[in-house]
């Protein structure tokens, strides 16, 4: 319970008000420049693909050395497999949202490889995405089970008699855990991307003025050797965010499916 109130210093730290070891993130306007960069990359890809889609995208032309058909198809199949595998047969309708999360976060993480900071290395952007994600989960839960059914889902299993008191406690706990999902999603992404930045900065510090060429000091950017593992983090974190959104969706939209087609439910879960 205490941890809920302990996020205040965290938010202060993200706003750069912590003092000597404050957050080195961009200002509000600076963050928007990076968000605009991410959106520019995404919209440029879409604008490239849109006119004459069948010739440009589906004829296997290459963009930046990558076969654009192959890469987009692989991304789509990856997301589709994630949705259908985690949520079940009705998971296909959540693909657009999950795909959007994946692409925004992945491009935002890639920006972190080339620029001193990135949108996903800032807690406010991540918290915004997490709020959208959890809000979407609530909305889909209400669409699947109705508002009352969705709220009843928080109370856990149906308990007889006086045990309804326990249901009330479970309801409160589930509400708190639902709120903490926002914090956990955003903090995980922020910690991984910003942690990579801090590690690179610390390793650059090691190689500062390491070679002395008679008055001219040369530095070696050791942090650059972290780039491969940062790339791995970028892919994995984008995947984990969308995967966890899938898991939350599957938890919330599970019930109505359970009654209808109980027979063939396990088959598409493969």
């Amino acid at each position: 319970m205490k941890a809920v109130f302990e996020t205040a210093p965290l938010l202060l730290a993200a706003a750069g008000k912590e003092g000597e070891k404050g957050h080195h993130g961009p200002s509000f306007v600076g963050l928007f420049v990076y968000v605009a960069l991410v959106l520019a990359v995404l919209f440029a890809l879409m604008a490239y693909a849109k006119p004459g889609m069948s010739q440009r995208v589906f004829s296997g032309r290459k963009l930046l050395g990558l076969p654009i058909l192959g890469s987009f198809e692989q991304i789509y199949l990856f997301i589709e497999q994630m949705c259908v595998g985690t949520i079940g047969s009705h998971g296909r309708k959540y693909i657009p949202m999950i795909m959007t999360f994946w692409m925004v976060i992945f491009v935002g993480n890639l920006v972190a490889l080339f620029f001193p900071t990135s949108p996903t290395a800032d807690l406010s952007f991540n918290l915004g995405i997490a709020l959208i994600s959890i809000g979407y989960v609530q909305w889909e839960g209400m669409r699947a089970n109705g508002v009352f059914g969705h709220l009843k889902h928080f109370a856990g299993p149906k308990l007889p008699g006086a045990l309804i008191l326990i249901s009330a406690i479970i309801f409160v706990i589930e509400l708190i855990s639902e709120l903490m999902k926002n914090v956990s999603l955003s903090l995980r992404l922020f910690g991984n991307i910003d942690g990579g930045h801090q590690a690179a900065v610390a390793m650059n510090e090691l190689g500062k003025h390491i070679i002395d060429l008679g008055g001219f000091e040369l530095s070696i950017p050791f942090g650059a050797f972290l780039l491969p593992i940062k790339l791995l983090t970028c892919v994995v974190q984008a995947m984990i965010f969308s995967l966890l959104t899938c898991v939350y969706l599957s938890l919330v939209t599970h019930h109505d499916d359970h009654g209808d087609d109980h027979g063939h439910a396990p088959a598409p879960a493969h």
Partner: protein, 69 residues
Amino acid sequence: MTGNVLGLGIGIAAFGVAIGLGLIGYSAMQGMARQPEAIGKLQTAMLIALAFVELVFLLVVFIVPGSVR
């Protein structure tokens, strides 16, 4: 609280979390070696578990320095 004590605490947290991550990777790899056709499912479950264990360390790193002073 001085920075040194804080660093020690974070080191202890990293110690435990590293053991946890190692256990997850160990068992997932063992499962994958025994059942190579289940690699996709095992990877998904492994990544979710990794994310939850990692979050503990991130919570320590970002919340403890703010609350201890």
